[in-house]
Symmetry: C2
Subunit: 774 residues, 2 copies
């Protein structure tokens, strides 16, 4: 854990320069706009430890798989998000000495991520070894108003000297991924050009042949006066830029503006890329830095109007929840159905791929409630577009007749994970993808989605489950052998209650969906049946038989469902009785010891209670919660949010709050000691869920919003904005009551606690606290 | 499969040169002497595909572990048998053109491994592109009379030309392992020297700093006349040799003898290595090639007198069994307790490490019956010497108080395997090591072994099992969770019957062993108890409690033991009903599909019936055999031998023979399509077991040999030599009877079928065939 971040409601601030936390800060100060992003690397040269990262969404490289022992079925390649060209390249020498904070004393250091306006500022004084002091001021942003553009202004003031500045601005495409499996570089040069103050570099990924053209335009100022500089073009392989010199007098401020656009061949014809980039950089730089900066602020203002959560009485919590919302909005904007939400977003390389079940299980609710319908719809369409690949993926594992298994990790629909117990066996991901269809329609009411994109995905998934179970002669029931549940601290288990329950749910929902599409649009229905070569009677009968005859392990005496067969054979020592020195287990215990222990990495049976909550009564939930919670170590950042929401449902407000705390500042406080690798983007959505679905108790039932809010003890109040079917409301919870304001859109009815009221205009409607009945 | 090897009773012969099978032949024609060995690489330059391999037993390199996903508990390094300096280096140019069979037409090719005398000969005509024809004759051996020495004679005859021969003889230490994890070379040069016709090169392994000095001495002849050559020293890094030229006339034969010694710092002080090698090469080369060759033949004659199996009426079987015996004797001679039996011996790099449970489970019986007692004793002492490392290994996984877990794969006692489901969970290996102690004492009668080396190993192993089980509140019994049995086609299973049964056996045997040592030598007993800090009452009571309360899965209705919990939940389609195109499963099916299938890679429950046979009656065996055999795919070469022995025991001679056939010519016919990687040395011992314990029905009970022989239908007869407690006997089985000849040593009683007779002198004693009672 680290705690150097200064608390502030709208800003992430560090106020001293400490190289030992530099890589953590690089993660925390990451910028992005859904189309591209960047770690908080310094603009200028920095020779200290740093993870350089520039990322273009959707541009990947299939890195040859590397394993100790090959297992049949592993993919040959692992698609990796690529470190792309660094457009920021900046070298500044004062009288021949490089400005490099790793090599000089740094004073009055201040860096802040302004989440409200979407920019990153830095201010500090660099004290050169020869006594020269230089003040640095920089501001940088990735535009969400124009998602191909990014820019910075970098100013230096000669505090106590006059001298010569030698400067180089460049685009560096000669970069590598730190996690390259075979130490290869992934890019080749295609073209480069220098036109006046505009630099252009196009590089191409090996194998996948994505072209990315980076164009930059620079302007220089001495104090407020723009300079005409006489620059020399400098170039190397995959590298182009300009260098120039000027004299600076004591007290002068030299400013440098660099505006960049990144265009990829995903969106432009390759042969037009250079030309288009030339046009784009001209247009964007013509606007000027200040104009771009204010467009950015306006665009973020709009984002916050739809997604802000305000917490009064707890600055740390306020900062944290905004940080999470900010990062989620930086990572995915929903404008392009080919993109998705990487677990590290644009903040690091680790994990490769972009899409895990995190998207459907944890991220979807955030985007459903805070963005246009189209944003979450695109998350679903992404999977629809990968259906054929999922069918091929299942075929590789021996499934047939259109059964689809979505990959554990993917960018382009192909599996890029290679650990058999996960890749081949953590198949519950398939259910989360089906469940997302249900959730989306339930939230938005967009039933047409089912016939457009939903049903064929559901059929592929249902077919997979129907083939993945087998009939046990011994039990006279269907069983599901050899799976890994959400609790990855057990592998290759039999009859994981969560997986089997979700499989059944998928079959049930697909049957319903078939009926629903049939009623909605008979022609389209027939078309889907034809396209999927659906053998209606045979398949639906089989599904029905499985639904009615699936084995789900439970312990009737204890009144609980069993995570898996023979879970109770394990030694049942509770987490609280484990020595602190044994935690976290994943660092302290050998893998086999973890596997045979009763400890649960993340919500598993309880994840089922979260998804399928209306199938179970409160007492059943309570028994299972009381059994599993004390055995859960929450060593996945995706775990506490589910426990928080269920604790809230059970009326255990104290614990709901405790679970929320575990991830709310996960990265800001470097809780897991791995923030240097990048941020835990998808778990940020889990924190949002804890607040809205946990403390706010929000659900959508029968096409309407319901809330069961409570106020965490040490908060004064909290409020959140929710978009629901064209209406935008603000829900505020304080000690006295819950009030809701209809900010925009049509009137709607809300049920809060047990009382339903209507919001018809911009008036605050209050619900009094219910009488406690514990 | 390939079938180019010519059948012969004593020789492995190929009679054409086919580059496409060259690497298979390189494996088949491997030479070794327990201390060192070599693949059947050509002496002269060969630019075609080849796996160059020279190996020095016990000299290893800790290659940094490489995995896809790290699991806690993995060893950082993986000890690999090293490719060592190639002493054979030979380059021959005729008028400037390199002799290289990859680049010329080869005629009258003949190569034979003479197993009777232990040498490898080659004869062929190399037809140069310019029309010159050169006859090649070579003979090579690795001396088992002097295990540091190897030699070859290489003759060339100018068939149709006169010309200039340019020749270089060298030692090449600049070699690499093909399976290096990070493409590193593992050796550094220490010293080299050229003295007259003697070359010396010492190289040192990185990290482990083993020094190996290779010294060679050469002689040259024109026809029968020794030449005085005027050679130049040539050298490069890690490389030294001599070059010279001479003229050859049509019809002349030029011969070249090269004798080598390899000395390692395992056996000599490093600073004396060079000097010792200088002396050794002088002594050895003074003997001359022919003398060394006849010593070799004599030494092999002696080996065969103790270990030969003669099969009449089936040349293929005769060749195969001798090949297996020959390779086992080339791999391990038992003179050095630091060495062991690598699964590929000195014939390839694959698998790394040297010691698997193969040694104890499959190889021990061969050495017990065909070599001095000391040879198998040293196999056991090897593990005794690694006890402390095994305790440390267990501690890494969370065990304590002297519990020992022997590694899955090791050279020096440290684990060098990195696949969690095997490394951490295939723990039954521990039981095989204990069982070997029992087996050794049962066979040899060397009870003193228990107090000298056996008991502390047993205590360490017993302690491991006592900690590895846990009490299941639910069952009111002990369970053993998260293991992988011998059937590696299931991982992380619960209550593997074999593992749990063997664990119980270990506890029982250790209790007996404690008692036995106590009675044998009270002082030594107390010493062991003190050294191991044995808490007698507490520990033995716990063990007794486990013995009496261990859960062993069975199906009472079917009357079978269950391989693991819920084995019967699997879909029970028999192997015979699998489409041929699905086999072998390990190439055709994805790993998850294999895991959830009922198919068994190698004897698992049946392995228990093999080891613990006297615990079960014949009907129980039959039921289990009849259940498991049809589900076993035998995709491990260690599987069929056990099924063969059990089928023989059940009187199913036909199937016993069929199982034997599956591995008897595994490498000669390249049955698994992987002989190019090296030979399956340890499974060769399994074939020996099929003949002696299967067809011969040999057992040791109550200190005496018993046999239940039968003759496979298409054999005329078979006979085998067996050493038993200082006596050497030859058992011959033909259609009429079984006869035994006492070849040497004291008289002994034998029970064959149900009749016990005495052998008192060198007379053949006959047992008539029993009346069949099937």
């Amino acid at each position: 854990m680290t705690d150097y971040i200064i608390q502030d409601e709208w800003k992430i601030i560090e106020n001293k320069f400490d190289p030992s936390v530099h890589q953590i800060s690089e993660s925390l100060f990451s910028l992005g706009n859904g189309r591209m992003g960047q770690r908080g690397n310094f603009e200028e040269s920095y020779s200290g430890k740093s993870l350089q990262g520039n990322y273009i969404a959707g541009v990947y490289y299939p890195d040859k798989t590397r394993v100790g022992w090959w297992k049949n079925g592993y993919p040959e390649y692992f698609a990796k998000v690529l470190n792309a060209a660094n457009w920021m390249g900046l070298s500044i020498q004062i009288d021949g000495v490089e400005l490099d904070l790793a090599k000089m004393e740094v004073s009055e250091y201040y860096r802040a991520l302004d989440m409200q306006e979407g920019n990153l500022v830095r201010k500090c004084i660099a004290n050169f070894p020869d006594g020269k002091s230089l003040e640095i001021n920089s501001i940088r942003f990735y535009s969400i108003a124009d998602d191909e553009a990014a820019a910075y202004r970098f100013s230096i003031k000669a505090l106590n000297f006059s001298g010569k500045i030698s400067m180089a601005s460049f685009i560096d495409g000669d970069i590598k991924n730190e996690d390259s499996n075979y130490d290869e570089k992934f890019w080749d040069e295609v073209a480069k050009q220098q036109n006046g103050n505009t630099s252009l570099l196009t590089i191409r990924t090996k194998k996948t042949a994505f072209d990315v053209c980076t164009a930059t335009s620079i302007k220089t100022y001495l104090d407020d006066k723009q300079l005409k500089i006489n620059a020399n073009t400098i170039e190397k392989e995959k590298w182009i830029g300009q260098s120039f010199e000027l004299d600076i007098q004591e007290g002068n401020t030299f400013s440098f503006e660099k505006i960049a656009v990144n265009l990829s061949s995903e969106n432009y014809a390759k042969k037009e890329l250079f030309e288009q980039a030339t046009e784009r950089i001209a247009t964007v730089s013509a606007k000027g830095f200040d104009q771009l900066l204010s467009e950015q602020a306006a665009a973020w203002k709009n984002k916050w109007e739809n997604s802000d959560i305000i917490i009064e009485g707890d600055v740390a919590a306020q900062q944290a929840i905004r940080f999470n919302i900010f990062q989620l909005n930086q990572t995915y904007t929903g404008e392009d159905a080919r993109l998705n939400i990487g677990p590290k977003g644009f903040t690091g390389e680790k994990y490769g791929g972009t899409t895990y079940w995190d998207t459907e299980a944890y991220c979807l609710p955030f985007y459903l409630s805070t963005a246009e319908e189209n944003v979450s719809r695109n998350l679903l369409v992404y999977r629809h577009n990968h259906l054929q690949k999922a069918i091929e993926n299942a075929a590789k594992l021996g499934f047939k007749d259109g059964a689809a298994l979505y990959p554990m990790v993917t960018i382009n629909g192909e599996e890029c994970h290679n650990e058999w117990e996960i890749t081949f066996e953590e198949i519950h991901r398939n259910a989360a993808i089906a469940f997302a269809v249900y959730r989306y329609i339930n939230y938005t009411g967009d039933k047409a989605y089912l016939k457009e994109y939903g049903l064929d995905v559901l059929i592929g998934i249902a077919r997979f489950w129907a083939q993945r179970v087998n009939w046990s002669e011994q039990r006279n029931l269907y069983v599901m052998l050899g799976v890994t549940g959400p609790n990855e601290y057990e592998n290759n288990i039999n009859n994981n209650w969560y997986t089997s329950s979700m499989a059944i749910w998928c079959l049930e929902y697909t049957l319903t969906a078939l009926e629903s599409v049939k009623n909605m649009d008979a022609a389209r229905y027939q078309e889907i049946l034809d396209n999927t070569q659906f053998r209606f009677e045979e398949e639906t009968e089989k599904w029905q038989h499985i639904i009615e005859n699936m084995y789900l392990p439970e312990d009737k005496e204890k009144g609980i469902f069993l995570q898996q067969d023979n879970y109770l054979d394990k030694e049942q020592i509770l987490v609280k009785d484990l020595p602190a020195s044994d935690r976290p287990l994943n660092q302290k215990w050998s893998w086999d010891r973890i596997l045979r222990s009763c400890y649960i990495k993340q919500a598993d049976v309880l994840q089922g209670f979260y998804f399928l909550e209306d199938k179970f009564d409160l007492e059943t939930l309570r028994r299972n919660f009381d059994f599993y919670e004390p055995r859960t170590v929450h060593e996945s950042s995706l775990s506490p949010c589910v426990h928080s929401i269920l604790a809230a449902k059970l009326g255990d407000e104290k614990r709901a709050y405790e679970f929320y705390l575990r991830t709310s500042r996960l990265d800001l406080d470097n809780y897991n000691n791995d923030t240097d690798d990048g941020l835990h983007i998808t778990s940020m959505a889990g924190t949002w869920m804890s607040v809205v679905e946990g403390f706010g108790g929000m659900r959508v039932r029968n096409g309407a919003l319901e809330f069961q809010p409570f106020l965490p003890e040490n908060w004064q109040s909290f409020s959140f904005q929710i978009g629901f079917r064209n209406s935008l409301i603000k829900v505020s919870v304080n000690k006295e009551n819950t009030s809701v304001l209809l900010l925009s859109g049509p009137s709607l009815k809300l049920k809060i606690w047990n009382e339903t009221k209507s919001l018809t205009n911009a008036e605050i409607v209050n619900w009094a606290l219910p009488v406690l009945e514990k």
